[in-house]
């Protein structure tokens, strides 16, 4: 096939154009915020939150309400419940998160199984269906992604300080609790924004995989965010094109593309890559005899 036709193929339809724009916004937003999520060791929380949006989305499905709104509300309820359990109970952080998210997910499943055609709807919620989504929904999730991106950029320095040294932030009189709340709010919104593009099961991949890749490639947090956003962007394009031509699920294709980039970086990164380390490994015999 002629390369130009190959590139133009998917974007000749308005539907696919919108999908591309939406997927780009979502993966850039998740990539940028993901750097802080990974650095703070919150991969598990983000995965848990992505399960927690399910009951809200189901409720929105059943009442023909906005899916992003439903997902956001249930994610916020879940985040609040997790915080409460951790503070009040003598439970550790991990079990309280696990209890909340499995409960929420089970509730979502129970809700949707009460309707007739639930398998199709469930598949769409869990795995996304970007090409089968209405323009209104695409717009909504793109808007949520934009809010995540703008919020992360606007709060960049306070977020960095609170993540790096919360004691200093508090000592300086910064509203640490509110900054943390904003951070978890942005995380919940990021999870919600990924529903359409990759579905609730894989949105963690968008948050974690590009950010982990960026950690191998860059040293400063701002640079990592740029790199991670770019990787997310590239992954979403590769993923959508693959999904278009090979007719595979877009969510799976996007996260697979991100994983592929990760694998390449892991092997070939200039300083931390496996190949570079093998090449620069000091040889013991030489140093002893020298």
């Amino acid at each position: 096939m002629n390369p130009l036709a190959f590139l133009l193929g998917p974007i000749q339809f308005e539907l696919t154009q919108r999908a591309l724009v939406e997927a780009t916004l979502v993966s850039v937003a998740c990539g940028v915020l993901g750097v802080l999520v990974v650095q703070r060791g919150l991969s598990f929380i983000s995965d848990a939150l992505s399960h927690c949006v399910v009951p809200g989305v189901v409720a929105a499905f059943l009442t023909h309400a906005n899916r992003e709104l439903g997902g956001t509300i249930s994610a916020l309820i879940a985040a609040w419940a997790m915080l409460l359990l951790r503070r009040r109970g003598a439970l550790g952080s991990d079990p309280s998160i696990a209890v909340v998210f499995t409960t929420m997910f089970a509730f979502g499943l129970a809700l949707i199984s009460a309707t007739g055609s639930y398998l199709n709807d469930l598949t769409e919620i869990l795995f996304g269906a970007i090409l089968a989504t209405s323009p209104g929904e695409l717009l909504a999730s793109g808007a949520v992604a934009t809010v995540v991106l703008a919020g992360t950029v606007a709060l960049f320095w306070p977020l960095v300080l609170v993540s790096f040294d919360p004691v200093a932030a508090r000592a300086q009189g910064l509203p640490v609790d509110r900054i943390e709340l904003a951070f978890y709010g942005l995380l919940a919104l990021a999870v919600v924004s990924g529903l359409v593009a990759v579905g609730s099961m894989l949105v963690t991949g968008l948050l974690i995989v590009p950010a982990t890749t960026a950690r191998i490639l860059a040293r400063r947090v701002a640079t990592q965010m740029v790199v991670s956003g770019l990787i997310g962007c590239v992954a979403s394009w590769i993923g959508l094109y693959t999904s278009y031509y090979l007719r595979i699920a877009s969510g799976g294709a996007i996260v697979l593309a991100a994983a592929l980039i990760f694998a390449v970086a892991l092997l070939a990164a200039p300083r931390q890559g496996i190949v570079a380390r093998l090449l620069h490994r000091p040889r013991r015999t030489e140093t002893v005899t020298a």
């Binding site: 650095q39 709060l155 320095w157 040294d165 004691v167 200093a168 508090r170 000592a171 947090v221």
Partner: protein, 279 residues
């Protein structure tokens, strides 16, 4: 002791409990502008707790803390710079030394603020002053412990607060850095800052501090070094062995015999009822 007379930091009747454990009992302390106040006491005597209570990092059972006569609210804390005794930061965080130092000014910049060019310049000057200007682009976790300590002192300096709370800034740094820090303290005093510094170094406290506070859960003595650093008050604060060892190390300071330390509780020091038995 009236708190409204002078500008500076005033701690009145501060009591802090960790669960059932009494860490600070009715402590009063004043740190005026242009003064370096030394906080001395054995391990676990509540020195760090006092600093943390001022910063709102620990809850106080009782007490009042004012800065220039006004109660210390969250916003006013941007005017107080602090270096903790032990930094509990994420050492693996991808942040450079200069970024750590410039973040000392985030409280001044506010929630949505970003560092201006002037903030970067101030951060670099602070790093130069601590003699680690050439390390500014290194990742914080890649520095030695002493270098890291210097970075956090530079951060407090860059904050340019009216009050500085330094928790053992001389512990774990080399002689050259100690000289730098001591010079810094006198310079801060000259610029009219109020400096509260905890230390285990009695000689230093005697030489550089305008005022010394002997602390052991409660304030044992408070006043000019020559008046406060008496064998009797040191015995009361550190117990027998501790005081002897401290006094051997500071033979050059001769406390005048006539001068009595000002006892916070009023009359003569009563024997500590609790705590002393465990030592």
């Amino acid at each position: 002791m009236s708190a409204r007379t002078t500008a500076g930091l005033h701690v009145e009747r501060l009591t802090v409990m960790y669960g059932p454990h009494l860490a600070l009992d009715d402590a009063c302390l004043t740190c005026e502008r242009g003064q370096v106040v030394g906080l001395l006491g054995p391990n676990g005597s509540g020195k760090s707790t006092l600093l943390k209570a001022v910063l709102g990092l620990t809850r106080m059972q009782n007490g009042r803390i004012t800065l220039d006569g006004a109660p210390l609210d969250r916003r006013a804390r941007a005017r107080i710079a602090y270096t903790p005794q032990r930094n509990e930061v994420d050492w693996s965080f991808p942040i450079t030394v200069e970024e750590v130092v410039v973040l000392g000014r985030q409280g001044l910049r506010g929630l949505f603020g970003r560092p201006h060019r002037s903030d970067w310049r101030i951060a670099w000057e602070a790093l130069d002053q601590l003699g680690i200007g050439e390390l500014r682009r290194r990742q914080i976790g890649e520095l030695s412990a002493g270098q890291q300590q210097r970075v956090f002192i530079a951060r407090a300096l860059a904050q340019d607060g009216d009050v500085l709370l330094l928790d053992e800034p001389l512990t774990g740094v080399d002689a050259q850095t100690q000289t730098i820090v001591l010079h810094m303290l006198t310079e801060l005093r000259r610029r009219g800052r109020a400096v509260l510094v905890t230390t285990h170094d009695l000689t230093l406290a005697g030489e550089i501090c305008d005022c010394v506070c002997l602390l052991n859960t409660r304030v044992i003595a408070l006043g000019a070094p020559a008046h406060v650093l008496t064998p009797r008050a040191l015995l009361e604060t550190f117990g027998g062995d501790g005081a002897v060892r401290l006094l051997e190390g500071m033979a050059e300071i001769d406390p005048p015999d006539a001068a009595e330390p000002r006892y916070a509780s009023g009359g003569t020091p009563a024997r500590r009822s609790s705590g002393s038995a465990t030592r």
